[in-house]
């Protein structure tokens, strides 16, 4: 087991391609995406079951090296600042192959 950082992001579903690109560029070894997230935050209630799809969130989780955390956070911060969303970090241990 190796100590790693677990980053969770919730963001407007339309931003997923950009977000993934930023994560890739920041050098994460992988990520997992869960669709159809809805929720509430500073921008109010965002609920996805709509004809418009206009208020749908998406959930992204990435496990990254502790050393790399700051790089990753710096990379994604502008996107979150501009389009809203949430990002939390917690500690975890990765099972290695």
């Amino acid at each position: 087991m190796r100590a790693v950082k677990r980053i969770e992001i919730v963001i407007d579903s339309l931003q997923i391609d950009r977000m993934v690109e930023l994560l890739d560029d920041a050098g994460v070894s992988g990520y997992t995406v869960l669709p159809n997230a809805r929720g509430r935050g500073r921008r109010g209630v965002r609920s996805g079951d709509e004809i418009t799809g206009a208020l749908e969130n998406i959930y992204v989780m990435t496990i990254c090296e502790s050393d790399n955390l700051d790089t990753v956070l710096a990379a994604i911060r502008p996107l979150l600042d501009r389009f809203g969303g949430m990002c939390v970090v917690s500690d975890a241990e990765l099972m290695e192959a």
């Binding site: 407007d12 799809g53 208020l55």
Partner: protein, 323 residues
């Protein structure tokens, strides 16, 4: 004024299913339409109306009259968002005004389709090129909305405008793409193509529209709550704008000598507002605007107003002047 046509329109299955959907949301019934069914029905409607328009165009050919109508459509798509913006700035900040203006400059395909079903019922003819006009009118307002923001924000905005992404968002969004693609396929394959597809894209059309409007009713009613926060000005704007744009649409159609069916559809295009393509584009390009404003106005006010009152009302006016 003769309210008979409004009453007749009300007693159509599609409109009644729309009202049933609203009622379900108001009474807090747990009726829900699976999200992917919504999206599937919407795709079906676009594909079908596109195929049908293309098929009709293949019969009529492309004439000078048609080119004129398409030019008029293009013109309205550019002019409407500009004067809407100017009105909206009375009350809204730059971002919200631009996003709302873009929504009203663009069109609602389901309003158009409900108009088509209304015309079919009255046996009034219309041209396949009106579907092309619809496709043409979906995108320009997106570009204009973004440009309005850029010009308004002036030097503050440091980010360069990503034109390639903006154009892709405007002209290659899913609904424009499917509509234009189906139109072209309908045009190319003509009679045999339409005959092969007709049991799906023709016979089922009205039933599917009714089913889809049930869902629209549910969603529109849910957004009506947002109107309280947005205030009465937005409701007034959403209805006033429909009426103003309809009036201009009818005037232009008369000027250009459109037939009554084409005139109604043209009027519906100018009078309707987008609640799918434009909101998606605005979320990407103008995230400063509040989506609940432009979605509530276009989906919870203008859309129901147009399909319930607008279609028969506009048609009555047209009928009166065209005699």
């Amino acid at each position: 004024m003769d309210f008979g046509l409004i009453a007749d329109n009300l007693l159509n299955p599609p409109i009644l299913f729309f009202l049933l959907g609203c009622l379900a949301a108001f009474s807090r019934s747990d009726l829900t339409i699976p999200q992917q069914l919504s999206k599937s029905l919407a795709l079906y409607l676009l594909l079908s109306i596109g195929m049908h328009g293309g098929y009709e165009l293949s019969k009529s050919g492309i004439t000078a009259d048609i080119a004129l109508a398409l030019g008029a459509a293009m013109l309205m798509a550019i002019v409407v968002p500009i004067y809407s913006f100017w009105i909206l700035r009375i009350r809204f900040d730059l971002y919200n005004a631009a996003a709302l203006a873009a929504a009203y400059g663009s069109i609602s395909a389901v309003t158009f389709i409900t108009g088509v079903s209304f015309l079919n019922q009255l046996d009034v003819a219309f041209g396949g090129h009106m579907v092309a006009a619809m496709a043409l009118m979906e995108s320009p307002a997106i570009i204009i909305g973004v440009l309005l923001v850029r010009m308004g924000a002036g030097k503050d905005s440091d980010e360069p405008l990503d034109w390639s992404e903006l154009l892709r968002e405007a002209f290659l969004n899913g609904s424009v793409f499917l509509l234009v693609g189906s139109l072209v396929i309908g045009f190319i394959t003509g009679e045999p193509g339409w005959k092969a597809m007709e049991p799906l894209t023709g016979d089922l059309f009205k039933g599917v529209l009714a089913f889809f409007l049930l869902d629209m009713g549910l969603v529109a009613a849910r957004h009506m709550g947002d109107l309280k926060k947005a205030g009465l000005f937005l409701v007034g704007f959403a209805i006033g704008m429909a009426l103003l744009n309809a009036a201009i649409g009818i005037g232009l159609a008369r000027l250009l000598g459109f037939g009554a069916g084409d005139a109604l559809l043209f009027t519906l295009l100018t009078a309707s507002a987008s609640y799918i393509a434009v909101p998606a584009a605005m979320r990407l390009s103008v995230p400063e605007a509040n989506p609940s404003f432009y979605i509530a106005a276009s989906l919870a006010v203008t859309f129901p107003f147009n399909i319930i009152v607008g279609i028969p009302l506009y048609y009555q006016v047209i009928d009166f002047f065209w005699r």
